[in-house]
Subunit: 265 residues, 3 copies
């Protein structure tokens, strides 16, 4: 889908952090090629080299961006190796990313229509480095796409790309579900890999997190008194364990990757 | 006041931090509705759930934004409870925020002309969640206002809103003032709740911070040698205790909420 | 060089961090004066008051920004003293910064054509404070320049400015070079002050970092197995010591300012 042509949005998601110039330099490159683009930060604080975490964040964020957004995703432990760099056009967006599986979840929900391997040096910075493809190859590609370049100009069409196996929650009888904590946010809320659809409709359940039993489902964090734990379906549609006006990560001693178990009453 | 229509500014202030996708997703929502908006970060590092701190930061920042700016403020420990969500039009700006008192100081300096309770689902994301009104209700409202929607379309007009009592400095005779440290900034400068107007004109004073006596008023941090403490009227108009090229918080062992006492010589 | 007039870019580099409102307020000031400007963050996490570090980051970043970009640089330990504030026009950009040497490296690579001392109060905020010239003097100056104001209007032309001595790497015979670690990035990569031109072409060398001997030159981090150390010419053109998918700073115990020594095999 190509829209958003007057005000194209380039949405950046990286593991670069903000203390260096890397993110700023990529924005400079984008604006040099597509001065009319709006560059938006999705986040740059994905754990370093964590392709799975980046893929989860991307899949949660992408549906909220305008149709035609170019998602510029750089979590790239293999930079300089022979891994490919992809540009993907879907029904509602464009993606530019290393071919390391980071697009797996996003493209499950928003299937690819055209995939190309970015190889055309005409749309790269001259003398591309081997250590910062984000600046030299991916940012220019995203900018040219934002400016309306047909995706096929970036390189040859290909028909497969690297996918990662995503750990899936398992559903048993009587409302029981096994899952994992995928992400702990700034507030200490623990987001699991259990889709809300697996648990919603249950009047009453418990989520076991280590030795703790967290009651749910409540509609919101504020449904329980301040300081108490609560299970909700979070804003990205996944089961989430929280503490009202507090940090579930701290109160429950939870960590990323930890197993959780849902049981009906 | 409605201006700023060609290049409307949406200024975001939240306690979301930048490590999650929450801020980025809100920007995606804003740009989907008002592609011509410029979204600016005031800060996202207000301490989690700290409505008072957010209100102070907002009141200090708002006067420096263009007339017609839409201030999108999301510090919202009561999300999902029955607290209202407000849109406010003043003589120089628009504000969208939960009705929890976060606007108290800003609206003292820039009084409201119209206040509405945001209730019209037509201007919200479909199927708004109960855990992320910032994305589903507040960001869309800010974007529609930035796009020129009359504020009354968002919901019914109301004539009161929640206010917080703000701890005020107390002035005694002979130049003496009692106050508190409200904020410690990135440099370790300690910003008090003592308005500069209470102390300016005094040739010489001391600010007691714990066991330390900090001399003032100096015009700037650089008025004293590197490493020495200094009291100035800071950039937001409040009395501030600093250390030249150093951290007053560290040198003086100061903390937020700590009492300070000003005495003339 | 004056271009970039339809979509002028203002690129900010400060040591303000993002937890306060300072950066947001400067953006508000810029957009109030030049609503058409795009404000881009280079970084705000330069170590507090570290003029040399800021100058290095600026020189690395500036070449990647569009021609006509206004670089707004505020690392200003002398704010409020009698140090001047500069506006500089070069062959490809404009710079606004305190006159403390922060522009030394950037202007070596992009020599000044016009330098003015910013003094005209007409282009400052009314009643400029003595503690936040970034907001009251530098941001307005950058915004007026972005809007097309001739630089001479900001104040009198001058013909000299403060420069800092930059520690330079020293080259010996047989491929030996002495240098220092200038910057450690978010990934733990250690960027030295040794220009790639001093070592490139050497098939095989070692970089001594404390007790460690790091082999190079490899084309990229991924040239060695995960967890192994590697010397590369980094993305800014300097010799860099890294660990594949890991942190060289942690693995090698490296720190900023540490001596490094390159030897041929």
């Amino acid at each position: 889908m190509r829209e958003n042509d007057i005000y194209p949005t380039v949405a950046m998601l990286t593991d670069f952090g903000l203390q260096d110039i890397y993110v700023g330099v990529m924005k400079g490159v984008v604006l040099g090629i597509a001065p009319q683009a709006r560059v938006v930060d999705v986040t740059h604080d994905v754990p370093a080299h964590d392709v799975r975490a980046a893929g989860f964040q991307l899949a949660c964020a992408a549906p909220y961006f305008p149709v035609g957004t170019v998602h510029l995703v750089v979590v790239d432990p293999g930079v300089g190796s022979d891994r490919r760099v992809l540009a993907v056009q879907t029904g509602r967006a464009l993606y530019v990313a290393p071919d390391n599986g980071v697009l797996t979840s996003a493209l499950e929900e928003d299937p690819p229509e055209i995939i190309v391997s970015i190889e055309n040096p005409e749309y790269q910075l001259p003398s591309a480095s081997a250590t910062f493809h984000g600046r030299d190859i991916l940012a220019p590609a995203a900018a040219y796409l934002a400016g309306g370049l047909p995706i096929q100009r970036l390189g040859p069409e290909i028909d497969s790309f690297v996918t990662l196996s995503i750990p899936e929650a398992r559903q048993f009888g009587h409302g029981a579900v096994d899952g994992k904590i995928l992400h702990i946010d700034h507030f200490g809320n623990c987001i699991t890999n259990i889709p809300g659809t697996m648990v919603e409709g249950q009047d009453s359940l418990f989520v076991a997190v280590g030795i703790h039993r967290v009651p749910g489902l409540y509609p919101s964090y504020a449904s329980v008194p301040s300081g108490e734990s609560v299970a909700v379906i979070g804003s990205s549609g996944y089961l989430e364990v929280a503490v009202s006006e507090g940090s579930a990560a701290r109160v429950l001693g939870a960590r990323i990757g930890q197993d959780v178990h849902v049981s009906g009453e």
